[in-house]
């Protein structure tokens, strides 16, 4: 009988298996299993190790990440972080926001830097304890998201005004990603996941111009060392799935913003594995056990060609996901037939929360509404919110700005009523202005000014 790890590796090698593999992305959520805060689990090797072992025991994964923290590299490179108890930290300052330069290659992270000693230690311990049966994921911050962390929101202006600078900065960030991969591979990781959520926030033309060569180079660098590669993106990356495939990762992981059935037709064309995309908040965080079982079974059933498919949450699981919900997904994976039987008559109960929308036709001043997963924890949302904040700081009392985080039930209801399809999005006076494209200062300013 195959071990869970062997099942996953067969799928990553594009072979047909009887069993669908499952990879729960339990980042800071792992800490919740013992009541540790996010900051505890990301700064204390013993607590992290203990939590990951519990994830392994309870959720029976084929693969699991060690840490899901896209700010780890940014912190080493001088970004100040804002820590939260129930989510990964977010980047609060950008060292290159005032100094438009390319950092010296000598600043590329090394084993002793930042929190790397903790991460590398836990990677080795996990390899020793569960590495035989579980495939271990080393997650690195993708070059574009790292470049955004270092430069801040101005990178979206630089992409138009100073292409050369952006290319050079992304090249530096790619070298950082290579160095991180090398350290993680040495510590025993089986899969290197390049997590670049901001990729979904640019056009496919910009992807090809700025990112394609770097990603292709990075994946080939990792593959040469005999481990698998996975390309994580969140947000509505539909338009970029094809160009992502062309960079030749072994796998692409997407969230609920992308229709996985449609996306799989593209990834299958390139013989690339696709992973995803259980909704993080509406199902995993707020749903019931039955909701989770039903979603997982339906998803498995909707995938016609079972090759090249991994069942996974859309991204890093929210901290407060009820343990029972993740176990429910695990059961749906390992005992699909019996779970299908359990939920065959189950109809999800829709919660009716009444939300009052503003009177958009009679506003006193422009109203900018930003719909996010959570700008404090999701990098794409951070920069979408950042773009809106830049304008708010400039226009001050002349506009109203509000963020609706999808992590709250009342905001899920608001999204439904407004017809919000993709996160993050910006609505101006009730109309969709930007969906999964982070606008530069000028473009957003124009959109507001054009109202009058």
């Amino acid at each position: 009988m195959l071990t869970p790890k062997q099942i996953l590796h067969k799928v990553l090698s594009h072979e047909l298996t009887d069993q669908i593999p499952w990879v729960p992305f339990a980042g800071v959520h792992a800490g919740k299993l013992f009541g540790y805060t996010s900051s505890e689990v990301l700064t204390d090797a013993d607590k992290l190790f203990k939590s990951l072992i519990e994830v392994n025991r309870l959720y029976r994964p084929c693969g699991q990440p060690i840490v899901f923290d896209l700010q780890l590299e940014a912190e080493i490179l001088g970004c100040e972080l804002m820590w939260a108890d129930d989510g990964p930290p977010s980047v609060a300052t950008h060292p290159l926001s005032e100094t438009k330069m390319i950092p010296c290659r000598c600043t590329i992270p090394q084993k002793d830097d930042g929190r790397l000693p903790i991460v590398l230690d836990v990677m080795s311990r996990m390899k020793k304890d569960v590495g035989e049966t579980t495939s271990l994921y080393g997650l690195i911050c993708g070059p574009f998201t790292l470049a955004s962390h270092l430069r801040g929101n101005d990178i979206f202006i630089d992409m138009f005004d100073d292409e050369e600078y952006v290319k050079n900065l992304i090249s530096y960030c790619t070298d950082v990603a290579k160095a991180m991969s090398d350290m993680y591979i040495e510590a025993g990781m089986d899969v290197i996941a390049v997590v670049d959520p901001l990729v979904s926030q640019i056009s496919s033309a910009h992807f090809e111009e700025f990112l394609s060569p770097c990603f292709e180079d990075l994946y080939s660098h990792i593959r040469r060392q005999g481990v698998f590669t996975s390309f994580f993106v969140c947000g509505d990356a539909t338009r970029s799935i094809e160009v992502m495939c062309k960079t030749k990762p072994d796998c692409i992981c997407i969230d609920e913003n992308v229709n996985i059935v449609v996306a799989k037709e593209i990834t299958d064309k390139y013989n690339i594995v696709i992973g995803g995309n259980i909704p993080l908040t509406s199902i995993m965080l707020h749903g019931t056990q039955q909701d989770n079982m039903k979603y997982a079974v339906d998803l498995i059933d909707n995938i016609k060609d079972k090759r090249n498919f991994i069942l996974a949450p859309g991204c890093d699981m929210p901290y407060d996901v009820p343990v029972d919900n993740a176990i429910a997904v695990s059961q749906a994976v390992w005992q699909t037939e019996s779970v299908r039987e359990i939920i065959k008559n189950y109809v999800a109960v829709e919660e009716n929360i009444d939300v009052e929308l503003p009177d958009y036709n009679n506003l006193q001043k422009p109203l900018v509404e930003v719909f996010t997963l959570d700008s404090a924890t999701c990098a794409a949302c951070t920069y979408m919110m950042g773009a809106a904040n830049v304008i708010k700081n400039e226009l001050s009392e002349k506009i109203d700005l509000i963020e609706y985080k999808y992590t709250k039930k009342v905001n899920i209801a608001r999204c439904k009523k407004m017809g919000v399809v993709h996160l993050p999005s910006i609505y101006i006076n009730g109309r969709l202005a930007f969906s999964s494209i982070i606008p530069s200062r000028e473009v957003l300013l124009d959109a507001i000014n054009n109202l009058s």
Partner: protein, 312 residues
């Protein structure tokens, strides 16, 4: 048999704080002992190394093209191992002004290969005048202070009583119990013995979270041989505001001069030591967070078109 351990002193501090001046006094304090020096500088142009070359029994530089010392760690370790073969009584390391010395402290204290070394402590030199400004812009500045066993508050002659109290409060807010001595021109008012004895205590264990300062910038200008002092001053002053430090040797009318600027104050003074030909007419410029150095140098080169032969 009693094993005599080599005493190890680390000198740190931001660019231009007065490390080299202090180092010269420390070496003369140990004049009857066998002293080995390690100088960590930026790039191939070891200017401090040239200034210190004659003062100790053996001196090594950890340079070789890289700016910040943490990335030359293995080279530093090798250098230190080589030095210990000659069993010096004292090893003094001057960390670069842009480096985080924490890593040096950690290596010397924790690596088994240095069991014959007695780590005495890290003396951090702080410039009273510029510290309040640089701690806000340069990430390493705070790291240097946090890793200090002793602080020498230097250049107290350049600040008034109120400014001095403020800088002391600033230091105490970051590192409340650090032993602090006040100095001017790097000269210890009491005797050096008193300072050194403070370091007899076992220094605290090292807990590090190494963070890089990616905003640090370095430029090397190769200047023409045909230059007069006024033009050189005007040229350098035109971008001095966008730098932390300017250093180098320039020959003007066949006489060698040492060029040095710290925080906008430029000095060009005759130098009677011996300098390698390669180092002459080279100016090293260091800058960091928020400084538009490249643009400022470019504008200066435009205004004074025949001075600079090349920029690296």
């Amino acid at each position: 048999m009693e094993v005599i351990l080599t005493e190890f002193y680390l000198i740190s501090g931001f660019l231009g704080s007065g490390k080299t001046t202090f180092l010269k006094q420390l070496i003369s304090f140990f004049k009857d002992k066998k002293v080995a020096l390690v100088i960590n500088e930026f790039g191939k142009q070891g200017i401090d190394g040239l200034l210190l070359a004659e003062l100790s029994h053996s001196m090594r530089e950890v340079n070789n093209g890289s700016i910040f010392c943490a990335c030359r760690l293995e080279q530093f370790v090798t250098t230190l191992q080589e030095l210990t073969l000659n069993v010096p009584e004292i090893i003094i390391v001057e960390a670069s002004g842009l480096s985080d010395p924490t890593i040096i402290k950690k290596v010397v204290k924790e690596r088994d290969v240095f069991s014959e070394i007695n780590y005495r402590g890290n003396i951090c030199i702080i410039d009273s005048k510029t510290f309040p400004k640089v701690i806000k812009t340069a990430l390493v500045c705070k790291k240097q202070l946090l890793c200090a066993d002793i602080v020498l508050l230097n250049k107290t002659d350049l600040v008034n009583g109120k400014e001095k109290s403020e800088v002391i409060s600033l230091i105490r807010s970051e590192k409340p119990n650090v032993t602090l001595f006040e100095t001017s021109y790097g000269i210890i008012p009491a005797d050096m013995e008193k300072v050194i004895n403070v370091l007899n205590i076992d220094t605290e264990s090292v807990s590090v979270n190494i963070i890089k300062d990616i905003t640090l910038q370095k430029y090397l200008l190769k200047l023409t041989d045909n230059i007069d002092i006024d033009t050189l001053k005007n040229f350098l002053n035109s971008f001095i505001n966008e730098t932390y430090r300017i250093k180098g040797f320039v020959k003007i009318k066949n006489a060698l001069n040492y060029v040095d600027s710290v925080q906008n104050s430029l000095k060009i003074e005759p130098f009677d030591g011996i300098v390698n030909d390669e180092a002459v007419q080279n100016i090293v410029i260091l800058s960091g967070n928020g400084m538009k150095t490249a643009e400022a140098i470019k504008a200066a080169c435009y205004k004074y078109p025949y001075i600079v032969l090349s920029i690296e």
